[in-house]
């Protein structure tokens, strides 16, 4: 079993720098999380080359001590990130993030929500005019908080605190998902008898990436409702990972209600609920079992010496219909519940039809052409009116086109499939914001072990830094100084879209490659 991963010596990815020696025994690593240079260092003593059981035992103990220390550091960094958010919340006037096009879109802007609440308080439909396009439920929850002022405190303080809490809960759920995925990964590797280098605790890293990502921080303090949307999406994934059908259904229905695009997550959620968390392809297990049965004469010789493998058959996880039906049942219950609540709150104001027209219809028809980090606003500002309908269909169908192929290729990795869907929809959605990228970059951390061999990770990291620096500059040049024009800002939007394309393509490629390598390793003769 001395097959080593054909890994590159250096593998960097967004926010994470990982060094890995080819030698399995030498563990020397340093993980940096966070883009802004804030990171955490993890050091472990180099362990000498394996020399018997004593050394092994010593190493085991060291690792537990190391993990204890890591846990402590993890919580320190989590609290630090929350305090950092509090600090930024207290300088809201200087930053004025709530009106940045990158942060607050027409769908997620808290300012528009306050306007919707004002209209509702004045006995008008919250959807009167083209101001508010969010959910009526969000309006009833967040609306009263927008008008509450505490003397001497920044306005919208309570909302900001709520978003901070949402961020924290999201990070914790990511951590939990990461632990589940890690467990599943370890089990499957063990079952396949593939040894790799040490497995990083992906949950910790992902949670810290999510918390310390400047994009998340900006979204959290920038008066946008994206943290709530992100929380609901993560809640869906968590519920599906732990097979809590009601929770998963709740998250899915609410997130779909809030921003429509998470509707496509139903496929990964059903796969998650049916098969359980990510694992190598099922064919691999089948093949392995098949091979050990001794029916394949060519492989028989390879496995003859391996007595242990023949003893325990590899667990092939069947598709469980019961939890899936459970999930669907709960999804129906929750959607009926949400619709009833919405119709009660909009009874006098046009009812549900008005709501769908103003929220999901607004998302689908791209009516608001005010600049954002996507490319669609400029496209639809420039495109000839008689082609508008055609291109609307093309762009939205582009999201749907990829659902089936991805589901076919990645059905054994539903969590990663969900990540890919989220990434694609945040790239092609009508009103993208950095809150969406905060979510998928956090999720990217979950697959740190699998995506270690991803290409262009350094380039992508630099690209994200570059775009997030250039985009405000270009916006300033165009809107405030008037020295640039719209093309300046649109160029950063194009660059951002290209980066996302490279990220999604490369990550999917790396994941497929990882499965390929696993298969090679597991089928190779020892």
């Amino acid at each position: 079993m001395e097959v080593t991963m054909p890994s590159r010596k250096w593998a960097r990815e967004e926010g994470t720098e990982k060094r890995r020696g080819g030698d399995l025994q030498r563990v020397g690593q340093k993980v940096k999380a966070g883009n802004g240079g804030e990171g955490r260092g993890r050091r472990s003593a180099g362990v000498g080359r394996g020399e018997g059981i004593r050394a092994e035992a010593q190493r085991g103990r060291r690792i537990t001590v190391l993990q204890m220390g890591q846990k402590k550091w993890f919580w320190v960094w989590v609290t630090a990130s929350l305090f950092f958010r509090l600090l930024v919340i207290y300088f809201p006037q200087n930053l004025n993030l709530g009106s940045r096009p990158e942060v607050a879109t027409p769908i997620t802007s808290l300012r528009r929500l306050a306007e919707g609440y004002w209209l509702k308080q004045s006995f008008m439909s919250p959807y009167a005019g083209s101001m508010y396009h969010g959910s009526p439920l969000l309006l009833s929850v967040l609306g009263p908080l927008t008008v509450k002022r505490i003397e001497g405190q920044p306005s919208h303080l309570i909302c900001s605190l709520l978003f901070l809490l949402a961020d924290f809960v999201t990070a914790m759920l990511i951590l939990a998902i990461g632990q589940k995925l890690q467990l599943a990964y370890r089990q499957s590797l063990k079952a396949l008898k593939v040894s790799t280098s040490e497995i990083l605790s992906a949950g910790d890293i992902a949670a810290l990436i999510y918390l310390w990502n400047p994009l998340t921080i900006v979204t959290c303090v920038g008066y946008s409702t994206s943290p709530i949307e992100n929380l609901m999406i993560i809640l869906t994934l968590y519920g599906a990972c732990s097979r809590l059908a009601p929770l998963a259904a709740f998250g899915w229905v609410i997130s779909m209600h809030l921003s429509l695009y998470p509707a496509i997550l139903i496929i990964p959620v059903i796969l998650l609920v049916g098969y359980g968390p990510d694992a190598p392809p099922r064919k691999l297990f089948l093949k392995r079992n098949f091979g050990t049965d001794g029916n394949d004469p060519s492989n028989l010789s390879c496995y003859q010496g391996n007595e242990v493998a023949t003893e325990n058959m590899l667990p092939i996880r069947p598709f469980l219909w019961k939890p899936v039906l459970h999930f669907i049942f709960w999804a129906i219950i929750w959607s009926v519940y949400v619709l009833v609540l919405c119709s009660i709150s909009l009874k006098q104001y046009g009812g549900l039809w008005e709501m769908f027209k103003r929220t999901h219809g607004f998302i689908l028809t791209v009516e608001d052409l005010s600049p954002n980090i996507g490319v669609l606003w400029y496209f639809f500002a420039e495109v000839f009116n008689f082609f508008r309908g055609f291109f609307l269909i093309v762009f939205h169908v582009n999201i749907l086109f990829m659902i089936l192929p991805l589901a076919v290729r990645l059905n054994h990795r539903p969590c990663f499939l969900a990540f890919a869907y989220i990434l694609i929809s945040s790239m092609l959605k009508s009103y993208p914001s950095v809150g969406d990228s905060a979510l998928y970059l956090g999720l990217l951390g979950l697959f740190i072990n699998e995506l270690a061999d991803m290409q262009f990770s350094f380039f992508l990291f630099c690209g994200y830094v570059g775009v997030s620096l250039l985009s405000p500059v270009m916006h300033n040049l165009w809107i405030w100084r008037g020295t640039g024009n719209a093309n300046f800002y649109f160029a950063t939007g194009i660059a951002y879209a290209c980066l996302q394309i490279i990220l999604v393509v490369e990550s999917i490629g790396a994941m497929l490659n990882h499965d390929r390598v696993l298969r090679k390793k597991s089928t190779a003769c020892p």
Binding site: S130, E382, V505
Partner: protein, 652 residues
């Protein structure tokens, strides 16, 4: 039965309301022309032409009119207009210097550009379509782009703050419309004598367009009377032209010929009356009274050799009548109008009155209770805020008396504001400051009606009743907005100039601007009876110029191709990644190496070979034609052709 009774009631009501207008009119169409000349405190001269045409409800004339313009009568009949006002204005009325509390300014000071409002007598679901037709008709009638008001984003339906008609009133304004002679000529065509005779001969185009302010206005009021089956329509058409002219560089003295360059050569023979008034304001008279308080002699009556003379000014002609305003408690001073009838003037003896000042006199104009101005705050093309400031002119104290100013005293101010949809106003950000201190909004606002703007559908409308304390010095209202980005087709030709937000209307319903005259004076002159009506004091604010961010107008193709390239890149690379399988590459490469060369590369290699002058390698017994014409290929071609034919057939 109820219906009948309501109609009867309505008829009675309308008769009651509009009876004064047609009182004393026999069943005859009437036309009268009047001109009011008024010195302004800043040594300018206000000339206010007032032409009044009446078509009383009659059974005898039917659709035929003697002097009433047929175009207007048809307009009123076709669109069932109850009331309509159209004004073309250039320049801004200076409320501080020219006054804002007299009948002339409250009725004739109009916002720059075109303003149109109309009240219709049609069911409320037909009002919008009627309005659209009306704008097109007026656009043709007056050679102006009034048809731009047709779009639902350009007009609003105010409920109560503009006029007390709800539902059937439409209001629209075009702030950028340029006014010129092409608009004046059709307007003059509505007069029976055009500008060939009568007072309108004074309208020398260069003179009146040289002025500081120029507003031509047309107001139509119609009344219905008669039985149910036969409705008689009485129409009152009021045409006014208000100009503010500078008499000379230094001399405040003027004559008709010096400011207009023409003289009046007689009346329009069709006019019932043709009168010129020279008016002196209340404050001017009070200054004169103060000046001559110690003097025993009364300054008013001094006539020497045909001219009207006193130590301060001299009128070259002696007025036919001196009309004094009936005092109604304005501190003992009342305005004076000198009336000149031009019945007796002709080509040989043209009418040319002149006013000569003998000594400088300073007086303050009758100001509105608050000086109103509106401006934009903030920079950049992303957002900003609109501020409306109200500055007290200390009129309230004089008006209500010092002892009235107590804590309980409140003054009401109505705000009516229409903003285009691309200025997205956040109503919840409305802030009110009184004397620099922020107030709780709900305490100041008595009533508010907001109709928020809808993208590409309707403009934002804001109507407010505000109550401020009487002893307030100043007040500021601010409201924030975001600027939208428009589609490339929605920008006007000169997009970088910015967009105009129409004026807001601030009215002071506690105050009424009216002058009272003796019955014998006012009954003869439509102008004076107009002055006697209770006009609401209102001020139009400035037009705001909002610059909007513009896309690159030369780039549509580039943007489309770039964006589509990005999407194609995504789609292609994604499919490529998903399609690739382990070991497939090697197999593919192997098969590639062993496979025969396809027809197209072979052709290309042949071509290159020929170009290079070398004979092409003999192909290995492969005829290109046969490889192209495989059944599969033919099937494909047929399929595509079939689809094309079917498409063509169905799309026809």
């Amino acid at each position: 039965m109820l219906f009948l009774r309501s109609i009867l009631f309505f008829l009675l009501l309308s008769h009651y309301f509009f009876a004064p207008i047609f009182s004393g009119s026999t069943e005859e169409e009437e036309f009268s022309e009047e001109l009011l000349l008024k010195p302004l405190p800043d040594r300018k001269v206000l000339a206010h032409f007032h032409f009044d045409s009446r078509a009383p409800p009659s059974t005898t004339h039917g659709r035929h009119h003697r002097i009433f313009p047929k175009a207007i009568a048809q307009l009123v009949q076709k669109f069932r207009i109850r009331e309509m006002e159209l004004s073309f204005t250039q320049g801004r009325w200076n409320y501080e210097r020219w006054g804002g509390f007299d009948p002339v300014s409250s009725a004739n000071a109009k916002p720059p550009g075109v303003e149109l409002w109309a009240v219709f007598d049609v069911p409320s679901d037909q009002v919008d379509s009627t309005w659209k037709n009306l704008t097109h008709t007026l656009s043709g009638l007056f050679c102006a782009s009034i048809n731009f008001l047709e779009s639902s984003t350009a007009y609003a339906s105010p409920n109560w703050s503009f006029r007390p008609f709800s539902g059937v009133l439409r209001y629209g304004a075009l702030p950028r419309e340029a006014i010129c002679t092409e608009n004046l000529t059709p307007w003059l065509k509505l007069l029976p004598c055009r500008d060939k005779a009568g007072l309108s001969t004074l309208m020398d185009r260069p003179s009146i367009y040289r002025g500081f302010y120029h507003s031509q206005r047309l107001k139509v009021i119609s009344t219905e009377s008669g039985s149910e089956d036969r409705v008689e329509l009485g129409i009152l058409l009021e045409q006014t032209l208000t100009v503010v002219l500078q008499p000379g560089e230094l001399q405040p003295s003027w004559s008709l010929s010096s400011i207009f360059g023409r003289k009046i050569t007689g009346k329009c023979v069709l006019a019932k009356s043709s009168t010129v008034f020279i008016g002196f304001e209340r404050n001017l008279i009070s200054e004169l009274n103060d000046l001559w308080k110690n003097n025993e002699k009364n300054w008013v009556a001094e006539t020497t050799s045909g001219s009207w003379n006193n130590p301060v000014f001299q009128l070259s002609l002696s007025p036919g009548r001196v009309i004094e305003e009936v005092n109604n408690g304005h501190g003992g001073n009342s305005a004076i109008l000198y009336e000149f009838s031009i019945e007796n003037y002709s080509d040989y003896e043209p009418f040319d009155v002149s006013l000569t000042w003998k000594r400088p006199l300073f007086w303050s104009p009758p100001r509105a209770p608050f000086h109103v101005s509106r401006f934009l705050m903030g920079s950049g093309n992303a957002r900003g805020s609109i501020a409306i400031t109200l500055k007290s002119t200390e009129l309230i104290k004089g008006f209500m008396g010092d002892n009235v100013i107590k804590d309980g005293c409140k003054v009401r101010i109505d705000v009516f504001q229409v903003v285009p949809w691309y200025v997205k106003v956040y109503s919840h950000t409305l802030q009110i400051f009184v004397d620099g201190e922020a107030q709780i909004v709900s305490e100041i606002i008595e009533k508010i009606w907001v109709s928020p703007s809808e993208d590409r559908v309707s403009p934002g409308l804001m109507e407010m009743f505000l109550r401020f304390p009487c002893n307030m010095k100043s007040a500021v209202l601010t409201i924030e907005f975001d600027k939208g980005l428009l589609h490339i087709d929605e920008y006007p030709p000169d997009a970088n100039q910015g967009f105009d937000i129409p004026s807001a209307v601030i009215s002071f319903p506690d105050f009424e601007a009216s002058m009272h005259f003796l019955k014998e004076h006012s009954s003869e002159s439509p102008l004076l009876s107009k002055f006697q009506e209770k006009n609401r004091v209102l001020s139009y604010t400035e037009i705001l110029l909002v610059p909007l961010a513009t896309p690159d107008f030369s780039m549509p193709y580039n943007v489309i191709t770039f964006t589509c390239t990005v999407f194609a890149l995504y789609f292609g690379s994604m499919l490529n990644v998903l399609r690739r399988r382990a070991g497939e590459e090697e197999r593919f490469l192997k098969s590639q190496a062993s496979r025969k060369v396809g027809p197209l590369p072979q052709l290309l290699s042949k071509l290159f070979g020929k170009l290079r002058g070398r004979p092409a390698k003999a192909s290995q017994s492969l005829s290109p034609s046969s490889s192209i014409l495989t059944p599969k290929f033919i099937l494909k071609v047929l399929l595509v052709a079939g689809i094309a034919v079917a498409w063509h057939y169905f799309s026809e």
